[in-house]
Structures are given as C-alpha cells and as structure tokens.
Amino acid sequence: MNAITISNLKKTYANGTQALKEINLEVTAGDFFALLGANGAGKTTVIGILTSIVNKTSGSVKIFDIDIEKDHMAAKKMIGVVPQEMNFNMFEQVQDIVVAQAGYFGIDHKTAIRDSEIILKQVELWEKRKSPSRTLSGGMKRRLMIARALINKPKLLILDEPTAGVDVELRYGMWEYLRQLNAQGTTILLTTHYLEEVEQMCKNAAIIKTGEIIKYDRVKNLLQLLEQETYVVHVEKIQAIETIKMYNPKVIDDTTFEVDISKKERLNDFILKISNAGMIVTDIRPKGNRLEKLFLKILKQ
C-alpha cells in the first residue's frame, strides 16, 4: 500500500507562480522518504497540499488510499506534520500546546494528558512542560513541534526541514528517534538541506526542481550515479604534485590535498602513484556528503 499517492498534481499561486507542474509521486507505506530540492523548488508546496495548508490547483492526492478532497478529515487523521517555520502560540505552555493538538483530533483530555507526558519525555521536554514555548531554545522548539505532530499517533509523519538550525548533537539524537519511529511502522516523508541526513536515514528519495520531479529512486541507486569521489589526503610533505594531475589535486595546506578518484579506478593505484612521487601518506578519507555532490550535479543538468 502507498502512504502517499500524488497524481498529476499542479499548483499555481494567485500571483501566477507555477509551483508544481503536474507531479506524480508514490511513497510506500513504511518508507523513510526524502524529498529534495533547492529553495523554491516546490517541496513546501507539496507538503502544504498534503497537510491542507495549501489548496491544489488540480490533480489528486491520496493518503493511505484516502483522497484528501473526498474525505479530508479521515486523511488528516493519519498525518502528523512538523513544519519548517515555528507555528505554535508563543505564549502557551509546552504541554498545553501538545494537549490542545490532541483535542483538535478528538482525543479526550485525560488521554491527551497521559500521552503528552509519554511523548514529551521521549523528546526530552518533560522538564520544560510548564514553560511558555517562547522561552525554549531553537532545538527545543523543533522537538516540541515533533511532539505535537506525534500526539495523534500518525501513520504518516511529514517533516519539513526538522533539523534546520539544530546543533550536531541534537541532530544525531533526532535522527535516532526518527529511525525508531520508522522502525515501528511510521512512514516518514522528510525534506532537508542536510543531505548527510538523507544518506544516513532515507531509503528512497525524489529530487524536485522548479516544480517537477527530476529523479526518483532508492538513495543507494542515486549514489551510484556519482562517477567519482573526492578524497582528502594527508601526507608528511607535499611534493611532485604535478605527477598526479590526472586526479585534479587541490592543495589545502603543506600536508593536505584533495583528489577526485573515478569509481572505475582502484584506490590502490592512486596510493601507488603518490608513493612513487615520494609522498608518505599519513591519512586518507572520503570527503563525505556524497549526496550533496550528486544533488548539485543533478540540479546542474
């Protein structure tokens, strides 16, 4: 079963901006799916339509086979959303925000109080339950929005850049939590600018560019599209660098340089060549964030 089925979806805003040009997309139930794209590509519009914040111009959207137009109340019950921008009342207390959201889904007050305690403890906000939301740090506000999105036990969790502005330690903690949710059966749709996040967590991904889906595949397959990888090489002293110019070396400092090594080549050959040049290797590692490179490559095409 598909968690999301988008067919021929179009959106043109009142000012004439065509945000989505007839996109089609399927996200299987249980998937951890990434929707990638540059700013203004149409990611937030897709999410807005899925969550009833944006009206579609044409096309159809189904959530677990329920058409959002025909039975939007039933479709909404399956969704939890963490938007890009903070959208809670800054004067309300943390637990009140989560409990009120439960109420909007028809969950009785007693159950809402009990469930909010469980979720706030999971996202480590229980100690802050009586604090006005405006007093929370950026990372805490993000976690509050996650807690609020989970209070109705959604089958589909939509996260629009959930880790934007969140420090590294917290980001890793959030990744772990989201992985657990996905393992428990929650389908997750994620948009992010941290492509490392996608590489670490997502099974499938789509890349959207100016309102069109231009790539849609398994993350593993997308990475195969990279023809070469950048390595950071540390040596005791750089010398005879011109002898490895076929690797497009970029000198960082006296002992460090970067090289692009084709996937068709063996790493061993490269090491042999720099050894022959008289350089002694002290460390070598991939530069990382391969998806970012791929993303830029696809967008440039």
Partner: protein
C-alpha cells in the same frame, strides 16, 4: 470525526479561548468595565442629573442597558478578531487546519469564546451599574436572549474580520470606523423619538438600534422598535454571517494559499 470527537475539539477551542482572555484579564476584562463606569459617572451622574427622565425612567437607568450592550458588542467582537487574527499571525491556526476538526466546530469554538467574553464583560458592567442605580428587570428571558444573540452576531463579525485581516491595522478598522459610531448612534444615550423624523428613519437602518432597544425592553418594557422584529433581524444576520464564515473556511480564504 464522531460526535464525541467533535465535542472534544469544540471543548478544546473554548478552553483555549477562556484561558487566553482570563490570563490577560487586565487587557480583556478590566478596561471595558472601567470605560463603562466612566460613562455611568459622566453621562449618567453628572450630565444625566440635568437631563431628567426618558419614557418615565431616570436617565441613569435608561443608559444602563445600552452601556451593557455596548460592552457585549465590543468585547465579543474584539475577542474573536484578536484571538483568530493572532493565531493567523503566529501561524498557530495551522494546528487547527492540519487537524481533523471540522470547519463548523472551529467556527463554533471561536464564536463561543467570543460569546463567553461578551457575556462576562456585560455581566460585570451590569454589576457595576448597581453602584449608580437599581435597574428594573421586566423580562429576564429576553435579556438573556438579546445578550446571547448579540454576542453570537458580533463574534461572527469578528471572525470574518480576522479572516480578511492581513495586518494588525486591519483588525482595528472595523471597530473604529463602523462598530463604535453605530453603537453610539444606536440609542445608547437617547431615545430615537427625540430625533427629527428623518434621523429617526435613518436610525432604523442601524441594526445595533434593534439590539439595544430589544435589550432595554427586557429591563423596562420600553422600546423604540418592535422587539419581535429585533429578534428576527438578529437571527437573520446570524444565519447570513455563519453561512458566509463557513464558506470562507471551506475555501480557505485568508488561511490557505
């Protein structure tokens, strides 16, 4: 949603609304009571003592229903317009939009919040009036009917205003340029029978006149207009505004892009 779930959602909105206006009671409950008290002192006591009675009752007694009604109108309107526009401004309205709460429950919840504030402020002003006069109560049921229907109507007005408002200035335009003048010209301080015939007829185009006079009838059994007509006008306007509000919510006007 089941009817039980709808009821929970409705309760949730009302609870939030009541907590909101009670939390900031120095901005929501106290100022209207002080303002109306000043009216009692200046118009009722200082000026009213020189005017004499109207329709057989003292001037102070005459203005009590009008001032209570004015407080109800302003506060039911203000509660909904500020709360719903505030939710739009902070985007916390999205909490409701992404939820499974039906549109009519959203409307009913906000309107009920407005009615509660209107009735609470109206009651407080009425209590304060006992320091100046002892108003007679002719028809308590009609008093309650006019209190509730008027606050429903102006809560709906506040809701529509909030939907169309794009900035804080837009929230103040309707109360400043329409609501306040119509309230003053709606017979709070005078009987329209004291006006020339042309102005009497023009006054009859003002819907607030019917609310104030209907309400006054509940106290003293006197009115410049037919009370049944007043109730009919109120109910008709409520139906029109409620249907319009629901249509705006369905289309997502001012809420969805």
């Amino acid at each position: 949603m089941t009817s039980q779930e709808n009821y929970v959602a409705y309760q949730t909105i009302i609870r939030k609304e009541v907590v909101r206006f009670m939390r900031i009671w120095t901005q929501t409950l106290l100022p209207p009571v002080i303002t109306q008290t000043l009216y009692f002192i200046i118009f009722g006591k200082f000026i009213g003592s020189q005017i004499g009675g109207i329709n057989g009752i003292s001037y102070m007694s005459f203005i009590v229903p009008g001032l209570v009604m004015m407080a109800i109108i302003n506060n039911s309107f203000a509660n909904v317009v500020s709360s719903f526009f505030g939710a739009k401004f902070q985007r916390s309205v999205e909490e409701l939009l992404v939820s499974s709460t039906p549109h009519w429950i959203i409307l009913a919840g906000y309107v009920s919040g407005g009615v509660l504030r209107g009735v609470v402020v109206g009651t407080l002003v009425f209590i304060v009036s006992f320091f100046f006069t002892v108003p007679h109560i002719y028809h308590p049921f009609l008093i309650i009917v006019f209190m509730v229907l008027t606050s429903i109507l102006f809560s709906l007005g506040g809701f529509i205003n909030a939907i169309f408002a794009k900035k804080f200035d837009d929230v103040a335009i309707f109360p400043t340029f329409i609501l306040t003048p119509l309230s003053y010209l709606g017979g709070v301080f005078y009987s329209i029978h004291s006006l020339p015939e042309v102005w009497q007829n023009l006054s009859k185009l003002n819907p607030i006149l019917y609310m104030i006079n209907g309400f006054r009838y509940g106290f003293y059994g006197i009115s410049d207009v037919n009370v049944s007509v007043s109730i009919l006008i109120l109910i008709t306007l409520i139906i029109i505004l409620a249907v319009y509000s629901l249509d705006l919510l369905k289309k997502g006007t001012g809420l969805r892009s």
